[in-house]
Symmetry: C2
Subunit: 80 residues, 2 copies
Amino acid sequence: MIKARIVVTLKNGVLDPQGKAIGGALGHLGFDGVDEVRQGKVFDLQLDGDDKTATEKRLSEMCEKLLANTVIENYTISID
Amino acid sequence: MIKARIVVTLKNGVLDPQGKAIGGALGHLGFDGVDEVRQGKVFDLQLDGDDKTATEKRLSEMCEKLLANTVIENYTISID
């Protein structure tokens, strides 16, 4: 069993309306000094097998095919 | 300027239909051996100031008030 975490975030320069809305909401709640908020996704996976190298390669394929829109998003993979 | 990352994930035992759907989709794409997928949110923030302790306290308040539903979600805060 392998545990892995994938974090998908917007590339720099890509507009993040959701992040902007959250930043605004934080301001309305009285949290000043928040310059920027950018929201992304995190996936925690449990996978069969124990070959970390092979698993990392498969996780990358999963990102390329489904979990990330690589035109506008970056992804990082970390394996426990 | 302080940079921080907040990761919000579902508590153990809380059903994650989105994660289940993603796991199913990965299976249809030919990725077998994926036992579990759980999806969460990540927030990257840039904040004024340089007092990390005070900032961590404010970030925790932000989570409690807006960024996380603490009934069903956990959050972790990491400051660069």
